[in-house]
C-alpha cells in the first residue's frame, strides 16, 4: 500500500460553449494581453488516496470520475498519478 496524489483535470468537452473561458478571454483582451487565442476553464481535483500501486490508484480514480467527478455529458477528464509515500512511512 502506498499513498498517491492524484490530479484530475476536468475540462469542458470540445465544441461545447464555455462561457467562463469566453469571459476570461474577453477580460484578458481588455487588460491588453494580446495573442491569447483561446481560454477554456475547467476543474482541477487533487486527491490523496491509498492504493496498492499507481495503476490501481489510476483505475480507481477513473471509476470515480465516471461516476462522480466529471459529467460525462459535458466534460472530459485526464488523470495524473504520483506516489507520495509508502503507507508505513506515515
Amino acid at each position: 500500500m502506498s499513498r498517491f496524489k492524484v490530479e484530475v483535470r476536468v475540462t469542458p468537452r470540445p465544441g461545447l460553449l464555455d462561457p467562463q473561458g469566453k469571459a476570461v478571454q474577453h477580460a484578458l483582451d481588455s487588460l491588453g494581453y494580446e495573442g491569447v487565442d483561446s481560454v477554456r476553464v475547467g476543474k482541477l481535483l487533487v486527491l490523496e488516496l491509498e492504493a496498492d500501486d499507481a495503476a490501481a490508484a489510476r483505475a480507481r480514480t477513473e471509476e470515480m470520475c465516471r461516476k462522480l467527478l466529471a459529467n460525462p455529458v459535458t466534460e472530459d477528464f485526464l488523470i495524473e498519478v504520483s506516489e507520495l509515500a509508502p503507507v508505513e512511512a506515515e
Binding site: 462561457p19 467562463q20 469571459a23 476570461v24 474577453h26 477580460a27 476553464v41
Partner: protein, 234 residues
Amino acid sequence: MRIAVITFPGSNCDHDCYRALKLLDGVEPEFRWHRDTDLGGVDAVLLPGGFSYGDYLRAGAIARFSPIMEAVKAFALDGGPVVGICNGFQVLCESGLLPGALLRNESLRFQSYPVHIRVETTATPFTSHYRKGQVLRIPIAHGEGNYHAPPEVLAELEGDDRIVFRYCTPDAGLAPEANPNGSAHHIAGIVNEARNVLGMMPHPERAVEELLGSTDGLGLFQSLVNHLSAGATP
C-alpha cells in the same frame, strides 16, 4: 445630493438601488456606466448587486478592471463614501478597497431569503441611523457570500470596530444556523480602515417598503444622507 449607481455588464440590482435612493428626500441617483471614467462630482457611490461579467472567474474579479473603478478608487481614497452591496461587496474586495474575499457559500448553494443581521457599530456614515445591537430583517441573494480573511485581518476588523453587520437569530444571538453562508465571525458587512467604504452581502435596497416585507434597509440610506448633508453644511 447626488449618488452614483454603477452599472457593470451583468449588474442586476442597479435599478433597485436607484429606486430605493429615489425614495429619500433630496437624493438624486445617477447611473454611471462601467466604461465611464469620471464620476462627475457625485457625493457618494453605490456598487449594486448582480453578476458582473457573469461572475464567471470569481465574483467581482473582472469588474474591478472596469474603467470606472479607477475613479471609484480615487473617490474612496479621497474619503468619499462608497457602498458595495452583494456583488458590489465582492468587487470592493477584489479591487483591494476592502480586505478579504468572498468564497462560495458553505452549502455550495445560492441562498435567497430574508435573514436577520445585527448592527455592530453605529460609528460609520452608513449606520448612524440605527442602534447598536439592533436586529434588521433584510433579504440575501447570493452564492458567494462566505467572508474570508486571514486571522490577523479578522482580528484587526474586530479590534477596530470595523465589522458593521453580523448574521444573527431573530433575537440577536449568534449561531451557526443563523449564518447563511459560513462567513467568518458571522460577518455580513465591513468597512475599511477609514470607515468610508462599506461592503455588505444583504440587500438593504430590497427592504425599503412595507409592501415588500420590510423597511429595515431604509436606515442605511438615511444614515448616508444625514452624513452627506452634515458634511455639506460647513
